[in-house]
């Protein structure tokens, strides 16, 4: 559940800031700003976009996702599970000849193993995606920003975290301003 839209009235609550957030009206504007933030050497920062902006990973310096490796592990597990299950049930635990056919053969075990490969890959892919993204996380400082609703609609944001070694409230704000950022605000943690 989001806390977007709520405003903190007590200024002492914002003692420890999460970082700075700047808005951008267009995708190309965000793209160029992201390149500048990347070149300034920041590591703990992010872009908020209502849709996947093509090419933004490169502009941000984000490496290729490792989800495929998790998917591969899931797929191999699924295939082995299928083959092992069919061998164990039919040729080991309770041997039963049906239609004079062999107790186990990779041929008849294949379709079920194939389906389990896909099933386990799907679970691994989605599970991997959630774990890598640190989701579910229903509370997040970014979601407290009163404008974040438009980040799911038609506006773009750059968030630079205060934890970043290069973060300096004044200089970072100046960098975001120079990059074309609008409505620059501090995010409370």
């Amino acid at each position: 559940m989001s806390t977007a839209g709520t405003t903190i009235t007590d200024p002492t609550m914002a003692a420890q800031n999460y970082g700075l957030i700047a808005a951008f009206d267009t995708a190309p504007g965000l793209y160029r700003a992201a390149e500048k933030v990347r070149d300034a050497g920041f590591r703990r920062w992010d872009c908020i976009t209502p849709f996947p902006v093509h090419g933004l990973d490169k502009a941000m310096g984000v490496k290729r996702s490792i989800v495929p490796r998790i998917s591969l592990v899931g797929g191999i597990t699924g295939f082995i599970t299928g083959m092992t299950m069919i061998w164990w049930t039919g040729a080991y635990d309770y041997k039963l000849v049906v239609g004079g056919k062999p107790l186990f053969s990779p041929m008849f075990a294949f379709p079920v193993s194939y389906e389990l490969t896909i099933l386990f890959t799907a679970f691994a892919t989605i599970g991997g995606m959630f774990v890598l993204n640190g989701l579910p996380m229903h509370y997040h400082p970014v979601l407290k920003h009163d404008q974040i609703r438009r980040g799911m609609d038609d506006r773009f944001f750059i968030v630079i975290e205060a934890r970043d070694d290069r973060f300096d409230a004044a200089k970072t704000r100046a960098l975001l301003e120079a990059a074309g950022g609008l409505d620059i605000k501090e995010l409370e943690a």
Binding site: S2, A59, S65, T89, A122, D154
Partner: protein, 496 residues
């Protein structure tokens, strides 16, 4: 701005000379010298969102459907759908309380409407996966406006399909015997049987379809969460937010998300092909004439896509009219769907012809008899309905005038649905009714309980689909925004 449409004769002349890839060169990049020499045609890319709509317009349009007051037509349709669905409930209640004998199956036709309806509904589901997965891999961006509804259709169709085999087992409280769960008999499932493969294929298909659909919904649920939060609707904001998993549009998340989505598309493609292949194995692995043929897997898959696109058009064209979605489901989308229907319908027609040819060429008297019997025997009426609806109907889509007439396209799509139901009926019932021994021949007619149960599944499907269009975004907003020109960070409109 180099993508102005050329006058048709120029475009047509140049199409022969050049590959379409040339048209994608950005205007801002200096063109390589070779392009001056060959003078490539600049093809206009099909516009996927018409009237140059903004991001906010897309959000308001799609979310407005959910946020607005429930329209009167929705309630009327919902009540009718519930009444229709009650036929399935009544039919199944009667079946459970009495026994599976209340269905019209009897020797020699022991598979009939139940399996016909099962294959029919599963086939309908396949277009949803085709649109979401195969067209995603082929980078057919026109899929974006129809994929959400098509995936929903897949899931609801699988629900309807599952009803039939589950209740056909007779004692439905033993349906869990289909899965390898230890039981008091100590005995395990027969994994040599295609019917057991089918259990795994269909349950995997249902599960992966739900997962794929849910992952696609994730960013849109976050949009709805924030909109309901802003509107002060705490309960709905909480519910959408719960399922949005705290999605916040982070690009580091999008990076993993897009990779996951691509992989899901990549595995759904072999999945959808394997599911109908395995469904066809239910028949092809047996020894019944007319079933025991190697053409079945590709023929079933083509038929499934054909029927699925028929159903997509049956559902989407009224939705487009009711919700005024002409800017999002454009004439180009309808053209594409009609062409796929035409292509797969023609493949199905080819398969019918090839079955006849092989029946003759194999010189197998049983096989030959089966096909003559299909076309001219006691079920000839069903065969010719099938041929008319599946082979002749789609041929109208060659004409651009037909494709532009939305009402006519909708009527033709109904014929496709009817034709594909009859295809399964013809395959299953005619082969069983007249097999090897004339002494065991019979004629099958459905019982009233079967008719009720099948009729009711249209209500079950409609109830689920109506709930979907009322409570979930019917189009993937994030994906639609990504195919608009202003989403392009290099060639889009930048006013700064």
């Amino acid at each position: 701005m180099a993508r102005r449409p050329l006058s048709p004769p120029v475009a047509r002349r140049k199409r022969r000379e050049l590959s379409t890839d040339m048209a994608h060169v950005e205007s801002s990049v200096p063109a390589p010298a070779i392009l001056q020499e060959v003078n490539p045609a600049v093809f206009p890319r099909a516009i996927l969102v018409e009237n140059n709509r903004s991001f906010a317009w897309i959000t308001d349009k799609i979310c407005g459907i959910i946020e607005g007051k429930t329209p009167a037509w929705w309630w009327i349709c919902f009540v009718i759908a519930c009444c229709v669905a009650s036929f399935t409930v009544a039919g199944i209640t009667y079946l459970i309380s009495t026994g599976v004998g209340v269905w019209g199956h009897a020797n020699p036709v022991n598979w009939a409407w139940d399996i016909v309806n099962f294959v029919f509904w599963i086939g309908i589901g396949h277009a949803g996966t085709l649109i979401s997965a195969i067209l995603c891999l082929l980078r057919q961006k026109w899929r974006t406006s129809i994929n959400r509804a098509a995936e929903a259709m897949t899931i609801f169709a699988v629900v309807c399909a599952a009803i039939f085999p589950v209740f056909h087992v007779g004692r439905v409280w033993y349906a869990w015997y289909l899965f390898p769960i230890p039981n008091s008999n100590w005995i395990w499932q027969n994994f040599r049987s295609p019917l057991e493969w089918d259990v795994f294929a269909v349950s995997t298909y249902g599960t992966v379809s739900v997962l794929f659909w849910y992952v696609g919904l994730l960013p849109d649920l976050a949009t709805l969460r924030d909109r309901f939060e802003a509107a002060g609707n705490k309960l709905r904001s909480f519910l959408y937010g719960l399922f949005a998993m705290g999605w916040r549009g982070s690009n580091r998340h999008w990076s993993n998300y897009e990779m996951a989505y691509l992989i899901l598309a990549g595995i759904s493609t072999p999945l959808v092909l394997s599911v109908h292949t395995i469904v066809s194995f239910d028949f092809a692995v047996s020894l019944i004439p007319g079933w025991h043929t190697t053409i079945f897997p590709p023929y079933f898959v083509a038929g499934a896509i054909f029927s699925g696109f028929g159903m997509v058009m049956t559902l989407m064209l009224p939705l487009r009219a009711v919700y005024k979605l002409e800017d999002l489901i454009t004439q180009y989308h309808i053209d594409c769907m009609c062409k796929i229907t035409l292509a797969t319908g023609t493949m199905v027609g080819y398969a019918y012809a090839m079955e006849f040819f092989i029946a003759w060429y194999s010189a197998n008297p049983y096989e030959g008899f089966t096909f003559i019997n299909r076309a001219f025997g006691p079920y000839a009426w069903a065969y010719w309905i099938m041929i008319t609806c599946n082979v002749i109907t789609p041929q109208f889509f060659w004409s651009k005038r037909v494709r532009s007439n939305t009402a006519l396209v909708w009527i033709l799509s109904i014929f496709v649905n009817v034709g594909m139901w009859f295809e399964r009926f013809v395959i299953i019932v005619t082969s069983l009714a007249r097999d090897f021994l004339p002494s065991s021949w019979g004629y099958y007619s459905p019982s009233i309980v079967e008719i009720f149960t099948f009729f009711g599944t249209f209500g079950v499907f409609s109830v689920l689909f109506l709930l979907f269009i009322r409570f979930l975004p019917i189009m993937p907003m994030a994906e639609l925004k990504a195919v608009t020109p202003q989403a392009d960070v290099h060639g889009g409109h930048d006013h700064h």
